[in-house]
Symmetry: C2
Subunit: 388 residues, 2 copies
């Protein structure tokens, strides 16, 4: 048995992000029952706080008892029936995953693609929607595999035009990574995870279901294929009668409530600005070092920066050195960009000036040590950070 | 917003049980990445510790990222394909739930029933197995809705006789509630939850898959209908290559490892004896008070005692008084015994002499206050506890 203490890391990968001590301490509060009156008060408060970050008045806004991918699956299994047509935007790993999940529901999936590192073209989406006439249109707001922030307006308009339900993955944007406005945008259902910009440990998947999504659930003629994720039962526990379905992950919910309270204290808009400002500093620093960013500025995601690995630098060796020498985690590429890009997260608690400067400094040091050509990024980053 | 502090409860319901402070503190350790080398060490240690409590050498023994019901679903969706025949033992809520989950997989479900409060008759199971020739036979080892401990030998022999995969729900027995011996009994796959006798907060579902269960997974001709629970992918993360599937619930795993370490320190056999001894004391006390236990002694589950609500006592009023005046939670009945029985858990950390005596004392006080006929249970309980 290994009883070595756990390390403390600066989590600048694609998630999890660092967690505020108040959230960790909340998770260590004594467990109470999932039907305890004090717990149902906590459930209600959590739902109201989640409505705030989603930008919605949807009653059924709550955390699914699983990680972000369980949230994705909860969205698909509840509104899809076998034979339904689905249009999925694919420009990275998580769009691919959506196709996989939808197919497992027996849906007929049409893909509308864009190159990795680019956003979906709204005009192409509109043409495809008119051709396919899908029951559901799904897209990724913030692609964690590429660092692209998808503009929503054109896609939402296309969905309205053809009467499709609009589903959004906001795993890496919710909670400050980028503005999320479910109601204003006309999104019918959306899911996220706790371990990104909310800065809670992984384990819960906040979801929100609007009236049209619930109507689709109510109109089903076949049972939801997942018992665990069947919202027709789960909503009786989360709203109203508190009917037992499964035992809620009580202590995870302590943590989620606390991180949502922290967001209210900071202010969501200020938090979005903070993510943006520190990302700008990182971008300026990386470019000043001579590195090339993977995503064009106009669709670049503040919470996750992707950058080409410079010539001469070894992907795994650099990431290992950062972890071992600096206790600093960044992410490698997935799929077609594996070994070609790094993914640098500045999410939630992790989005600080100190973390930006520290990473730039370490990259520069490691590059110089192994003879990789590099400039200095600190001054450029400092200029963006200003007097903060 | 409600900022009232959370109450501290003695959790003597059907789960969650009370959690050791060491487990809570472990959950509050700083989050690290799900692919961090320090985390994979923790994963390996957790798997080895879980093998110990399951009584198995099965390589694929790990916690599913969801609560116990997700574990149930993970077992069914991975080994069943549409049209497969399944024989399910039903003598309570969780046998019913198994039927529901199996049907959602497109399986042809045959039920073999016993009255609530009784165990399944192994001879009847054997006859049904020979008639149905099921691909999977599933049963509940410890029925949390009734407090019945199912003898396994006869069912296991029947499964071997017809060549069926044997699936076991050990949610309320694993970790000391009653002996669990997956390998010795010939169980092919089993699932549990963390919030019962393991005394970890809810949120993870330990499962174990033997060679025959994995062969069934490998031989599938259709995809597993749940992406989130697809073990053909998840096992690549938990064993060997650490291939990313979904982000593991890192801090929950800190807690699970710590509660498993506590079990090793106590010794699993001693822990089983402790559960048994304190349950005996509770039973003696309740009977001395004049109450009737719901389950015959020979199949009575130590970790969860069910007792008829005595004449004149009001179900909800008594449970509310216990919660409000004593901070003590017990469970009500589910389904056909709702309002008729109480469910009293003595699981993991909650199984102590003090909790037994405290509950008996409070029940007696509340009964006397509302004119319900009662004797005294303390002496009878104390005699069983002896000099402990």
């Amino acid at each position: 048995m290994n009883y070595e203490p756990l390390p403390q890391r600066v989590l600048m990968g694609p998630g999890p992000s660092n967690v505020n001590a108040r959230v960790l301490q909340a998770m260590a509060l004594p467990t109470i029952g999932h039907l305890d009156p004090a717990f149902t008060v906590l459930m209600d408060e959590t739902m109201e706080l989640l409505r705030g970050v989603f930008g919605t008045r949807n009653m059924l806004t709550f955390p699914v008892s699983g990680t972000g991918s369980a949230g994705m699956e909860a969205c698909f299994v509840n509104v899809l029936q076998p034979g339904d047509r689905v249009l999925v935007g694919v420009n990275g790993v998580f769009g691919e995953r959506m196709c996989d999940v939808a197919r497992r529901c027996g849906a007929l999936v049409t893909r509308i693609e864009a190159p990795w590192g680019s956003a979906l073209d709204p005009e192409a989406v509109r043409r495809a929607a008119k051709e396919v006439r899908p029951r559901v249109m799904a897209f990724v707001h913030a692609e964690t595999s590429t660092g692209v922030l998808q503009p929503v307006e054109g896609i939402a308009a296309a969905a309205r035009e053809v009467g499709a339900l609009l589903m959004m993955d906001c795993v890496t944007s919710l909670g400050g990574g980028a503005a999320v406005q479910v109601d204003e945008w006309g999104v019918d259902l959306a899911y996220s995870g706790t371990q990104k910009c909310l800065s809670c440990p992984p384990g819960l998947a906040p979801v929100t279901f609007g009236e049209r999504a619930l109507a689709a659930l109510d109109a089903r003629t076949t049972p939801v294929q997942s018992w665990y994720l069947d919202l027709s039962m789960i909503r009786r526990y989360w709203t109203g009668e508190r009917f037992y379905h499964h035992t809620a992950p009580v202590n995870m919910l302590y943590g989620l409530r606390e991180c949502l309270r922290l967001i209210v204290e900071e202010g969501l808009e200020r938090r979005v600005e903070r993510h943006r400002r520190h990302a700008e500093a990182l971008w300026a620093g990386l470019e000043a070092m001579g590195m090339r960013l993977f995503v064009p500025r106009e669709v670049r995601l503040p919470s996750l920066t992707t950058v080409w690995i410079p010539e001469g630098a070894e992907d795994v060796a650099v990431r290992q050195a950062l972890l071992q020498e600096a206790n600093l985690e960044i992410g490698g590429g997935l799929g077609v960009v594996k070994g070609k890009i790094w993914r640098i997260g500045l999410m939630g608690e992790t989005s600080t000036p100190a973390n930006v400067l520290n990473l730039l400094s370490w990259l520069e040091r490691l590059f110089r040590r192994s003879g990789v050509k590099t400039g200095s990024g600190l001054e450029a980053a400092q200029r963006v950070l200003g007097t903060e």
